[in-house]
Each structure stands twice: as C-alpha cells, then as structure tokens.
C-alpha cells in the first residue's frame, strides 16, 4: 500500500474509531469561558504540549516495534508524562477503538498482535503498530498524530461554538507549519527517555474537571 494512501485512510475523520466523541478538552475550556476566536491558540497550546508527548510516544514505539525491542518502557514513559488519569484513560479508550479497526485491516501483522497483547494500549502505540505494518515513516506518523489532533478540536469546535467550518479549516491550515515542526522534532527519537515531556497545566485541570461533570457533549 502506498504511504500516502495509508496516511489518508488513518487521518480520515470518517473512520469508525470514536473520534467524534472527543473534543481534546475544548468542551471544558468553553465551559470555563474560552471564546470562539481563542480556538486557534487553544489548538496551538495542544500542539506545544500533549500532542508532542503523544507524537513522541508513537514514533518511539514505531522504532521499537521495527527493532524488535520491548514496549513496556514506552508505556511507562508515556504514562509518566501524562499525569491526568482521565487523559490516560481517554487515550486507552481511543486505543481500543482503533485497535479493533487495525486488527481488521492488518489481520496477519505481528506488530499489531504485539501491541494488542499489552494491557489497554494507549492510542499512540496502536497507531505505531499500524505505521509499522503499513510502512509509514516516523515523520509521517508524527504528522498523523498532530494533524488528527487539530482536526479533532476543529470539528468539536463546530458543535460547541457558533463557528463557520471555513474558518476552522483555515485555522487548521494556518497551523500546518506547527504540525511539521512537531513531526520533525520527534522523527529521530528512538529511546523512551527522549520522548518530550511538555506539560499543559490548564489542559490537565480541564480534563480532570470534565471527567467529573455529567452534562457534556463529548466524553473528553
């Protein structure tokens, strides 16, 4: 399969992987007063923090799958960089949904089987298994993680705020150079200790607050 086509497939919002249940903490942010025009800077904050952790985790997992190295140290590194239990839980829930799809797409993949054997693998590990099987380059995997995050927030923003989809798509386009920067930064990582650990204190607190409310559109 061509790398480009596999990228399109995995980045498609119509995939049955529960992406529509996610706002990337945007719902909690809006509840605490975030205005429509602040959505682009919110997206940028995610790219500067949680997205770098997820992208770095995915790329290091990809390297280790290809090199035949064990994955539990990658899980440890990711979990130590994700202090919010609801965020860890969300990533694992999304990992499970993605794993169902990836198992069907690549039934004979040893990489997928290896990740599936982990207890509740987080989403970046499942993406890494798909990338390892489908032949994605590390930088492509980094782009996929970061791009998907932008589109998740952009599409949630349309449900939460009175926005024009032409505007939100322009915001995603404007942030593509940042996506490329994240991908370049993580592409050469091979060791779990190298995974970036930038935290986003307000995102962590929003994730926590959101997990405790029952009146919500999005699960996270």
């Amino acid at each position: 399969m061509s790398e480009e086509l596999l990228m399109m497939l995995l980045a498609d919002a119509r995939l049955p992987v529960a992406g529509h249940t996610q706002s990337g903490q945007l719902e909690a942010a809006v509840r605490s007063g975030l205005a429509a025009e602040q959505v682009p800077v919110f997206m940028r904050s995610r790219l500067a923090s949680v997205v770098r952790v997820e992208a770095g985790t995915a790329v290091v997992a990809l390297h280790r799958l290809r090199a035949g190295l064990p994955l539990p140290t990658v899980v440890d590194a990711w979990a130590a960089r994700t202090p919010s239990a609801p965020m860890r839980d969300t990533s694992r829930t999304l990992g499970r949904a993605l794993l169902r799809l990836v198992k069907r797409l690549f039934p004979d993949s040893g990489h997928v089987a290896e990740v599936a054997a982990l207890e509740r693998p987080c989403r970046p590990l499942v993406l890494a298994a798909a990338a390892a099987t489908g032949g994605l380059a590390p930088a492509s995997l980094g782009r996929l993680v970061a791009y998907d995050d932008l589109q998740t927030v952009a599409s949630a923003a349309l449900k939460l705020l009175p926005l024009d989809p032409l505007d939100t798509t322009s915001w995603v386009r404007d942030l593509l150079p940042e996506v490329e920067r994240v991908a370049t930064e993580v592409a050469s990582l091979t060791d779990p200790d190298q995974i970036p650990a930038p935290s986003a204190p307000q995102l962590d607190l929003w994730a926590q607050a959101h997990a405790r409310t029952t009146r919500r559109l999005f699960s996270a």
Partner: protein
C-alpha cells in the same frame, strides 16, 4: 556531578549538600556542606532541630540571588528510615538578567523508608530573568516525598520572565514516576497552558498514603502511584493550602 560541567559561569556556582543518615544511637546523623567559591551565592543549611529519626533544616540564602550567571545546586540525601523536613525562610526572586541566565538544580535521593518533606516557598521569575530549574528525584522502596513548589511568573504587575523547568522522579529500578518539562514565558499565558494565570502551584506526593477522595480539587493521580495537585492563580496567596495540609498532616 553538578560541578563536572565546566563553564565560565561556574565561577559563581555553589552546591549545597544535605545528608541525613541512617539512624544510629540517639540522634539521626546530619551532614551538611556548601561547595564553591566563598563569594558565590548559596543556600546555607541551618539545622533547626533533630531527634532520633528526623531532622529539620532551613535553607537560608547567602548572598544576593538569583542573578545572571548564578548556579545554585542542592543535593539532598535521606538515609534508610530517616526523615528530613526542609523549609525556606522566604521566597526566591530571580531578577532581570539582561540577556544572562541562571540555573537552580536539585537532586533528591531517598533510601528505603526515607521521608522528605520540602515546603518550598514561591520562586518568582521577574521580567528579564531567564532561569533553568531542574529537579531529579530517585525513590527507593517505601520512601516518601512531599514537595511544594510555587512558580510565579513576574513580580506583581510585571511581565513574566522565562523559566525552563525539568522535573523527573524515578523509582529504584529506574522506572519513571513523573516526568515533566515546562518552558514558560509570556507566551505561556495561553488557554490550555497557564491561561491568564501567572502563578502555578504544585504539591507532589510520592509514596505517601493519601486517601483516594481527599482534596479532589486540582488533584492528578499518577499512573504508578503518587499524586500531583495543581492550581493556577493570579497571586501566590490564592493557591489553596489544603493539598499541602492533606499530605503533611495525613
């Protein structure tokens, strides 16, 4: 380790060592020293109290700090079964460094069953300051850590300076418990990062028995045990005291 990286800036560097040894006889063994040029600003350890198992030490700033080129190092070791409480007489202000930089490095090594309670005071990063703050923690089985940190970006009514922090705690097998970096400046006052808040309060409790429902506000429960409380505020005194009380009084 701290002194090994030789740069011209080290002319003003200091390393404060605090060792509270294993319990022997009637009093816990306490060793402190400060290495570095006598003119270098340093934290002087002052023993406030000690008994059979525990010591209480104040880290008193000696010399003006924190200025461009300053390198403050603190290495804390607590031996098996011993307990150390560290206090600070006041907050620390990092001043305008006019293009220069300063570093503040802490290493904490806790032996089996050791306890460290460190009640940090606010660390203020003035406009023009550029500070690197590194914290490295090694936790042996059964050790306990309670650490309070308050980072303030800018004095009252002032723009933030720059603070680059790294924070890592590992257990005795080298497995990470909490790893975090923050590169904070005026750009960090953005939604999702610090929001409009210039004060970030943290209470980290590792190895402590914290009831599962205690102090839910701002509480982050870590994957492999341990809890981090985070609060964002406009002023340091607005950071709630409950998490620290919850951790230190059980």
């Amino acid at each position: 380790m701290f002194m090994a990286t030789s740069t011209p800036e080290l002319a003003t560097g200091s390393l404060t060592r605090v060792r509270v040894g294993a319990v022997d006889g009637t009093r816990v063994r306490v060793e402190t020293d400060v290495a570095g040029p006598s003119t270098a600003p340093a934290l002087r350890p002052m023993l406030l109290a000690s008994d059979t198992r525990s010591a209480r030490i104040s880290l008193v700033p000696d010399g003006a700090m924190l200025l461009a080129g300053d390198r403050i190092g603190v290495a804390v070791e607590v031996g098996e079964g011993a307990s150390l409480t560290l206090v600070e007489p006041g907050g620390t202000v990092a001043y305008d460094m006019d293009g220069g930089r300063a570093t503040w490095s802490v290493t904490i090594d806790l032996a089996a069953g050791a306890t460290l309670v460190w009640a940090g005071e606010p660390f203020v990063v003035s406009a023009g300051a550029d500070v690197t703050r590194d914290t490295r923690i090694a936790m042996a089985p059964g050790s306990r850590l309670a650490l309070r940190e308050t980072l303030v970006l800018g004095r009252h009514g002032e723009r933030p300076g720059r603070a680059r922090t790294t924070w890592e705690a590992h257990d005795h097998d080298g497995r990470p418990l909490l790893v975090e970096s923050l590169d904070l400046d005026a750009g960090s006052l953005a939604p999702g990062l610090l929001g409009p808040h210039r004060v970030l309060g943290s209470v980290t409790a590792l190895g402590c028995d914290v009831p599962p429902d205690a102090c839910p506000d701002g509480r982050l429960d870590l994957e492999r045990g341990g809890t981090l409380w985070r609060h964002l505020a406009g002023e340091a005194h607005e950071i709630p005291r409950q998490p620290w009380e919850c951790v230190t009084t059980g």
